[in-house]
Structure formats: C-alpha cells, structure tokens
Amino acid sequence: MSLVKHGALLKNERLKLYKKPSTWVLMGVIVLMTLLNLLFTRIFIRSYESFSPTWQDQYSSQMENMARELKSNPDDTYSKQSLETLKYLLENEIEPTDWRTDVAIEYYNIKYGIIESKIPSEPNQQTQNPTDIEELDEKTKNRLEKLDNLLKNSDWKAFINLKIDDLKSGYSQSANEQEKQVDIEMYELYLERNIVPVAQNANYYYHGGGIDFDNITWKNRQVQSMRENKLNLVRGETTSGVLLTHAQRKNIENEIAASLKRLSTNTPPITYDSFLGMLEGTSTSLSLLSILLIVYAGNIFATEYGSGTIKLLLITPHRRKRIFWSKVLLMLELTAIALALIFALAFLISGAFTGFKGIASMQVLSLFGRIVHMPYLMYIVIRFLLMLLPVIAYGALAMMMSVVTRKSAVAIAVTMLIMFGSNILMTILIALSGRMVVPGIKFLLFANTQIENYLPSAQSVFNINMPNTVDATMTLGFSIAMLAVYTACFLWIARDSFCRRDVK
C-alpha cells in the first residue's frame, strides 16, 4: 500500500520535471558536451600519431646531424660513437625496443671509452692502486667480447643471465643487498615467464611517436613497475621520498600481486585508443552530471516554495516524509537517466571509432584490496557507479540547501561554490600532501570526492599506482564510507527541516 502511494507521488514528480522544457535542454547540453569531449580526444590522439616519424627516419636524421657535427669537429668522440651505433642499429634493423639496442649502446660506449655508470664510481680507489687499471683493461676486453657474442647470437636469455651475473659479481652496482635482490628477482622473472626483454635505453636515440610501447612491451612494463614497487617497499618510502603509510604499503603489495597475475594469465593492458580505453575516458563526463544534479536538486524544493505550489503538495493526504522521499527518488532516477544516456552515447561513439574491438577483454585489477580478474567492461561499469557517489553526495548537499534556504538560486550557487572551491583547494592540498598533512582533513567531504584517484585505469595498469589523496592513510573504502555518511547527513537534515518547518 505504501509502495503504491510512493508510486503515485513519484509519478507526479516525474510529470512536473519531465514536462519542463529546461530539463531536456540541460540534459541535451550534457549529452552534447560528452559527445564533443569524445570527438576531441579522438582527434587529438589521431593527430598525435600521424605527425610522429618512424624510428628509421629518426635514426637517419640523427646520423646526418652527427656527420655534420663531425665535419666541424673531427675529434668529437661522442658523435663518432653515436654515428657508429646508429649505423649498426639501422643496418641490423634493431628496433628501439629491441633489447639488443642496450647491448649495442653499451658496446660502443665501452669501445669509445665513455663508460658511465658501469665503472666503480669512487675514483680514489682506482688511483690508489695502479694494478686495478690493468685489471680493468682485462675486464673491459672480456666485457666487449661478451657483448659482441650477445649481438651475434641474438640470445636474449644469455643477455638476462649476463645481467644477473653483473649484479651478483658486483659489476653492476646496487645501493644495498636488498635492492640487489629485488633486481635479481626481476631478471629471473624474465626467464621464468619467458618474457623477451625490452631495451631500457630505448629512448637513447629514439624520441617517441610511431611505436606503441604499451602494446609491444606490456610484459616488460609490468616487470618494471613491479621492480619500482618492490624497491619502494624495500626503501619504505615513495619514489618522491615520502614515508609509506600502512595503507600505501598494502596498496603496493596488491599492485605487485596484480602485476604477477597479469603475467601469469597473459592479460595485456587496455590501451587508451582501444574501445574500452575510450569508453573509460568518458567517465570524466560525470563531473557534468554533478552540475545537472546540483541544478535539479537545488530547484526541486525551492521552486515549490517559490511558486506557492508547496501548499498544494502538502495538503494532500501524505506525510511530509513520503513527499520528501518521492523527490529524492526522482533525483536518483534523473541521475540514472543521465548516466545511462552518457554511457550509451560513449559506448556507441567509442564503438564507431574502434569497431568495438576488444570489448570482451579481461583485466586483472586491484580493487578494494583484492585482486580480481574480470571483464574490463564490467570494471568500467563499476568505475562509473563508484564515481557517481560524490555526484550523489553533492546532489544531497544541494537538496539540503534547497530545503533550508527555500531559494533555488542560493542553493545552486552555494553548492557549486563549495564544489568548485573545494576542488581547487584539494588540488593544492594534494600537491602539498607529500610535505604536510592537515590533521583531520581526511574527514572532510571534499577530501573524499575524487574517487577516481583510487581507481585503476587503462593508464595506471602500467604505472605505479599511488592514490592521490590529501592524506596517505586514506583508502577507497574509507572515502566511500565518508561519502555515504555525508550523503546520509545531508538527507537527514533536509528531511528533518522539510518535515518540521512551517510554511508561512
């Protein structure tokens, strides 16, 4: 019976809202902005790709530069070395990502005497004992021979073994025993998982563009990010030198586990320009949705007070509580419709650009401190829904303002001000969070509205995923709980005020 009554009131609210032309105008604007957003990113990616020259072109043009340099300065060993390296790489068709690039670079480095980090870095020790220098010469000869063999045999396993030997023998230096162990473990993973390594110095002569590193080298990227993560754990601090909190430690451990699972299940990452990557990118349109919701939630009570129709509404045989909830339900419905529109549009447009390729791709993700293996499309839906939570919280805030102030302009303006103002404030505080954390700030609404900071994305699958929050002890679960508490408080205040206050 009560449900029937709720249904009648909800139908009324629908009639009032959906027969307003402005509702559809605003909805149309949101949809249009989503569309433009999609088209714009797509065009941007396209133009970026089409302007980048191939690696061969890049190498050739660098060779020309070096040759010109040599003409004016014939003793320039760096140019000579580069010229020879590039020539070798081009002749043997060794792509920048090929591990042999590393070997070739090291080979010519040694040959031309520019040995950077490979020689023990304390010069005092060397000059103290002259026999070391001779020993070094012997070592160098040996080294060149080994590298030459690697290039000739093109055996990546031998390359990895050499790297491991380097670490064990101390030829390559590590900061301490623990870090050395991390590096050895990483190289062993290549052998174990049968991952052809990728040149770590790929960017030495090659400067981006045509090659899709993410796609070709994802396994390497996974191993690399595992290494970074493990090093962070060993050091007990982040890459930028901030001490790890318990939450971050847990997060890093999960990331490592996820990387391992990705390797064992052979799950390549989702790329930006794939169907799913594009679809995921449209979740930024949800901020538009919060504007829509704030406008409507700010209006929904205030206009009834403003036009005097509130009297008509309240003298019907319904408790005010029920009238209140019918309006809350309508707002949820409106949000759902707008979300569905945005999602459907993003789905179709992304599909039109990419032919829905890879729609069923699976992905390994670290969510809520657990490692899950699920279709990425499903994750995108979850991501959209989670990102809806702050939108709903702001909607509830606008609703509360609408009831309390009874003026739609005031309710909308105040809520928007809070939203945009706090966003700016939070960006600043997040930037500063490495150096200082304001105590208790994590309990504020604004500190918890950037849910996307916790969520893995097509991008973050490669990178070390460190949540960007004002307080490093915060977790996804914490923020969701805070948003729920705030939403409940806003609604409770709104309901209480609506049910108690006189209509003068």
Binding site: L9, N12, K19, P21, S307, K311, L312, I315, T316, D502
Partner: protein, 306 residues
C-alpha cells in the same frame, strides 16, 4: 448534524508575536461557514493550521474526529482547500495539474472530468495554467479542491480580485456544493456583505481572537441594532413620532428620508405604529445591518459597506 471541523484553544505565534490565541470553533456538516475578519486578523494563519501547513503551538484541530497532528493522512483525506492564491504549476496544463492532485489524493481519473464539468472549464482544460485568467485559476482551484470528494473545503478569500460576475459565480457554486452535496465550506473574507449573502454561520476574528460566532440569523437578531432608511410622508409628523419612541434613534435626517437605528425585532412594531399614525412609508432600505454594526465595532471602523 455532526461537527466536521473542530478547533479547540488553538494558539500559534511567530517568534514572540502571537498570531492567533485560543481560537475555538466548529463547522457543522453541510453548512457554509464564514470566517470574517480584517486583513491581518489571523485568517490565513488559522487556515494554514487547519490544513497542516503550520503546526499549532497549543490546542487541537480535528477533521471528522481525526486529529491533524496524530492522524494527518485520515484528516487530510476529508479536507481540501485553497490557501491565499490558487497556485499551481504554470508549465503544466490545467488537466495535468488536476491529474497530479488526483493521483496524490487517490481520486479516480474519471473524477477529473466530473469536476472540470462542475466548474465549467472543459474548453480550456488543456491550456497551460499560466495562460489562465485569475477567475479561471480560482475555478480550477475549486475543481482541484473537489477532486477527492472532501467533507469540508477551505477557501481563503476566494472572491479576491474577481469581478462581480465572478463573485456571483463563486457564491452560487459554494451554495450549490453545500446544498446538493452536503459539503461543508469554510470560507474566509474581509468583506461582510459577501459573507452575509452566502454563509449560514459567521465567525468574526480580530487580532487573533474570535470575537463573535453564530448563525447569520442569530447575529442579526441579538445584540446591537441596524440602520435603516425610511422614506416617509409627511416628514414632520414622522420626526415627532420617532422622537417619542425610545427604541428608535435618528442617525440622520435627509430631504425626504430618515436614517434610524432600530433593533430588527422591533421593526414590525414600529412600522405598525407609523401606519396607525397615518404616516405613509414610500420606501425602505437597509443602510447597515446589525452584523455590520458589530463588525464595525469590532474592527474599529473602516468602510465595511464598500
């Protein structure tokens, strides 16, 4: 005949200022109840209290025995009303507005056509509410109030801003509802004449206090006298006769008429006396009824007739 609406010692203040204090009244089934008082007397506040828009600080209000605080839904199912202006959703048609209210009150859809017919709005019912004239808005407001067949309908100054034809229409409609549907109508106004013409019972409120309550007949009979204009021939004789009579007081003497204050129940006796003294009454009119007199006294003057 039972009481449809009962107010017992209702008190309401905004801040420290009391708006109405200890208002008690009851509206019987099938009567048109006039709630009379000057502007700012507390009429609209009382109506909002009855409709549950305000909550009383003290006292009880019940509709058909259902307390509006404790049993709000049951009480509201038997009452309807228009407060201040007939405000509805401007961007919706008259029909949609009625549909909204019908749904909220649980009225059947066919009932909408019935009430539209009752107020004669069939032609314009699909037009947007904001395009209606004030009279049409009032009529739609009444239609809306009729939707769920309430036992009592509350109308706050329904004739405000209407032209004479519109006022007559409203008046006829209210009498029709009370007489043929047995519905009680609680109507507020600051204009006495209107009240006298359409109400069975009148209640006068001033400064938030009920000063007089009773049937129109009762109020007219008891208490102070009304003022009547007699056109008499011959005048001199008539003036002498009136001066002898203690029950009659001359208010004003004109060229061929005398305005005098006289109790209503003595008019018959007085007229007979004139006849016995061979004074001819060529014309007789009411300048001010006894109700007007009390109203004037209560509200401290002002032009009640206008």
């Amino acid at each position: 005949m039972g009481d449809v609406l009962v107010l017992e010692n209702v008190y309401k203040s905004f801040g420290r200022r009391p708006i109405i204090s200890d208002v008690s009244l009851s509206v019987k089934e099938g009567e048109v109840f006039g709630f009379l008082g000057p502007n700012g007397a507390g009429k609209t506040t009382t109506i909002k209290l009855v409709l549950g828009l305000l909550s009383a600080d003290r006292g009880h209000i019940s509709v058909l025995g259902h307390d509006i605080e404790k049993d709000f839904e049951k009480a509201m199912r038997n009452i309807s009303g228009i407060v201040e202006n007939p405000d509805m959703y401007g961007h919706l048609s008259g029909y949609d507005n009625l549909l909204i209210h019908a749904r909220a009150c649980g009225a059947r859809k066919e009932r909408i056509d019935e009430v539209v017919q009752m107020v004669g709005m069939q032609m314009r019912i699909r037009d947007k509410f904001k395009s209606y004239s004030l009279g049409m808005k009032q009529r739609l407001g009444v239609a809306q109030a009729l939707l769920h067949n309430p036992k009592i309908m509350i109308l706050d100054e329904p004739t405000n801003g209407l032209d004479p034809a519109g006022i007559k229409e409203v008046r006829d409609l209210l009498r029709f509802l009370a007489e043929t549907h047995g519905m009680s109508v609680f109507v507020s106004s600051h204009i006495l004449q209107e009240m006298q013409q359409m109400c069975d019972t009148v209640c006068i409120i001033n400064n938030g206090i009920i000063v007089k309550q009773g049937s129109v007949d009762e109020l007219t009979k008891g208490g102070s006298a009304g003022i009547y204009r007699y056109k008499l021939k011959p005048m001199e004789k008539a003036v002498d006769l009136i001066k002898e009579n203690a029950d009659v007081r001359i208010v004003n003497i004109g060229l061929d008429y005398i305005d005098m204050r006289i109790n209503e129940d003595e008019i018959e006796m007085f007229n007979r006396k004139l006849f016995e003294n061979n004074i001819v009454i060529t014309g007789l009119g009411t300048i001010e009824t006894s109700l007007e007199q009390s109203y004037m006294e209560i509200t401290g003057g002002g032009n009640v007739i206008g």
